[in-house]
Amino acid sequence: MTTPLTDGADRTPLTDGADHAPLNAGTDRPPTTDGAGRTSPDEVPDEVPDEVPEEIRTVERLRELREQVTTQMGGPEAIHAIHAKGRRTAREHIAQLTDPGSFGEIGLFATFVDKVTAPEPGPYGGGIIGGHATLDGRPVTVAVDDDSVIAPGRRSTGKAARLYQMALQQHRPYVEIALGDAVPSLAARPGKTGTANARTFGAEPAFPYLLERQRAIPVVSMVLGDTSGAAAFSAGLCDFLVQLEGTRLSLGTNGTNEANGINGTNEANGTNEANGTNEANPANGTNAAASGEVDAIAKTPDEAYALTRRFLSYLPSYAGGPLPLTNDDSPIQYDDQIAKLVPARRSRAYDMKAVIRRICDADTFFELKPNYARNIITALTRIGGVPVGVLANAPMRMAGGLTPECCLKAVSFVCLCDAFGIPLLVLQDTPGFLVSAQAERDRAIVRVMTLLHAMSQLTVPAVSVVIRKAFGLAFVILDGNRQVDLSLAWPGAEIGFMDPPVAANVLFEPQIKQLPEAERAAFLQAKAAELGVGFEPYGVAANLTIDDIIEPGDTRGRVARHLRSALAERPPRTTPSPLASWPRWY
């Protein structure tokens, strides 16, 4: 839809809207022809002025209105009520989030109310304040729920749609702040909201654009107040979802739950329990974090702004755009400390995050979904100034074994990186997928295979390093199903089809049963050693399962050199990544 929307003072006649009107809505809608654009098919206003009164056309009137709209918003009482709760208005959020003085508003005069015929001018803004701005000097488009006017009213999803469309056309990230129980205006409501303008604004949900976004531009959703309904849509479609602690986030409202008969007296299903702050379980922060949907939890709005800036600092402004490189001309040193972080004994745990921090540039480690499926780490970092997504096993958690939830987390991350051209670094130390009856009930098979599916379609430069151990299907998948550019291992790595002691036990079950109890352990050990031949990196390097064995201290250098040359040599991408269209969560 490219119909130009104009401000309320100069109502350019809209076309009939054939491209967005309901198919055969049962009425032959006449073209909207009068200058005020107020003709509606169902209800022609009784008093259509021949001309817009002269005083409405003056510059003074424009200035006065603009002043009024930007300062009064939904009225002094509404603003007072927001402040009384210790919260910020939409305009205050924008002022704090964006670079000072950078905000240029769009749709200031959007409204649901017909300003010409309405006896009292209602609030402008359409429930959303938005426009263009910069974050750390880079352009973005922001859209913020205006809770001084929306509660309990409806939200102009049409305005969100317009702002998103502008962001898309101008190749810049779209940042939404959601803080309301917004009922979307789903439909044309001729005769209710009055004008053709209102119909266009209110009737076209942001939805089609967002649903078809296919990660063409980065989308951030910040949930800074209790949110449901239309305001929650982008939370389910964005690339980065940050939620303020203590807020509730859900798609449906209590009403829809009751209507579905799923709420009733069962409080556990109530909206307020659904995705809200879970005080009884502070470790999880919010339930939404527990479900993995939220990428980061913020304790304050300021922290949420900072998280958003941080996230966007690693991303190009649009898919296929240049990566935001930093000037890091410091020479890459051999790291003689990194090997000490990893115990040689494979049963000893260690902190993989410490290893990542040594491989990437100082202070660039930015973890996503840190409280979900913690056996796998997903983080944005930089190496030699190049943004890099790191996918790493976490031996501190269940020895780094992978659960179905880990697959979800990894797929979501890989889609993000691949869609935006961010190179991937995989650090492996895992006994494999954790097998159990519970995992099978949790659809382990399809989740594991979806990760394989995703890793097989990688288009970004990717490097895999086996830090200590990697077995079976987990190795195949984390190695990108042979799609990574470079498959490396540290000299202490073990790589094989299955942990040898387990494999020996399974493979030689009949022989073990025939042996006297006392001899079994020795037999197993011998068979495990026999099976383990070829598991050391020289064995797997011999048959090209890995490409090279590297010194731990050279890991950072090797990865940095490869990424630098890979990014320089690759032809620019002409088609989107196949993973760009995948859902953010599945």
Binding site: G252, N269, A288, I445, N543
Partner: protein
Amino acid sequence: MSEAPAKTAKRPTFREHVEALVDPGSYVPAQHFSEGMDEVSDTDGGEALIDGRPVTVGRSGHVVRRALNRRQPYVAISSGTGGLARGGRRNLGVLDTVWGMSGGPMNTEMASRNRDIPVISALVHHSFGDSSFFAGMSDYVVQLKGACLALTGPRVLAVGTSEQVTMEELGGTEVHRRNGQADTIAESLDEVYAAIRRFLSFLPTAAGQPLPVTAPGPHPDLKPGPDPRELIDGLVDRASFFELRRDFAPALVTGLARLDGLPVGVLAIHGAFAADECLKATRLVCTCDAFGLPLVFLIDSAGPSAEPGAISRAMMLAQAVQLAEVPKCWVVTGRALGAGLLVTGPARIATDLVIAWPGARAGWDDDAAAAGEHHWAADGIVTPTGTRATLTAHLGAVLGPAPVSRPGRTLRTWPVGF
């Protein structure tokens, strides 16, 4: 634990399975044997006809490359212990274990096949490792009662994690009928074969090929009521409804059916779109879009539930419906409230046909719906008895007399298992 069929009767060989499945005398084994197989008692697979149309049949994912190259459906007769007994015993290391198998699931072509051909897994015996992985990438999975489908077997669990479970507890039909990983549960081998033939009967041999249209079936008798299965049976050709994932996400009934002989995907909701309902719907929407089958939605729902994880799953379904390029029809039979409207489509986004029954209500909530907005977005109010004719007339006009599947461009690349 229920006794596996193999324990009580002689297990059919791969060849016997194939010959029971395909048209008599049509099976031609492949001439090239795969490396790395040490329990070969038959061939690894070959070509055959099912209902007169070509398919490739293979053991646990073998020779799938032949089907991909020939662009015809592939059926895996799956039972397997994975790569362990093969590569492992021979100490070959990872590369040979997982890469040596030609055309196996690790094959990158398979992992990025983009639903160009229908791929089916028939789990006729316990399946671990490769054959289970293959099932995870299949468009249709039928599991025989008594067969176990799992990443790895109880023995590995017992040794590796000390968890003691039976085959049935680990990955029996009771597990996968509830988590949706089996599209059909079969009580007997004959049911397995019949289900495969039935599933294939609705699909073109490959994306872009003609849809298998049959003569119009007998008209059904519609009994309007809340039961989605009765509604579906009352709209589609008599006895043509082939339900998928019956016991998973029960508020949504999904399956394939025929409307005047034209194959369609049907999704009928009666209740909330919880996360599982969204997963169930998304799989079918992707399959239908990839193979050009029109989608028919019957809507009676007040929207998504508020459980954790529901937002992203609901948006995923909304994306799938939006991105699907096949003809889409919505019939609002009862309520279409809240985000349910959006999740299932007819928020005036790329809609082909939206009709509502008299008394249907659509709007954000019951209040809005009651305020007389049930004409919202509808192309027309159609009586229940007139619905079938409206749908067939619409689809006939959209697709023409000799419909070819026009696969969508996007969803075919989506994940396969949901």
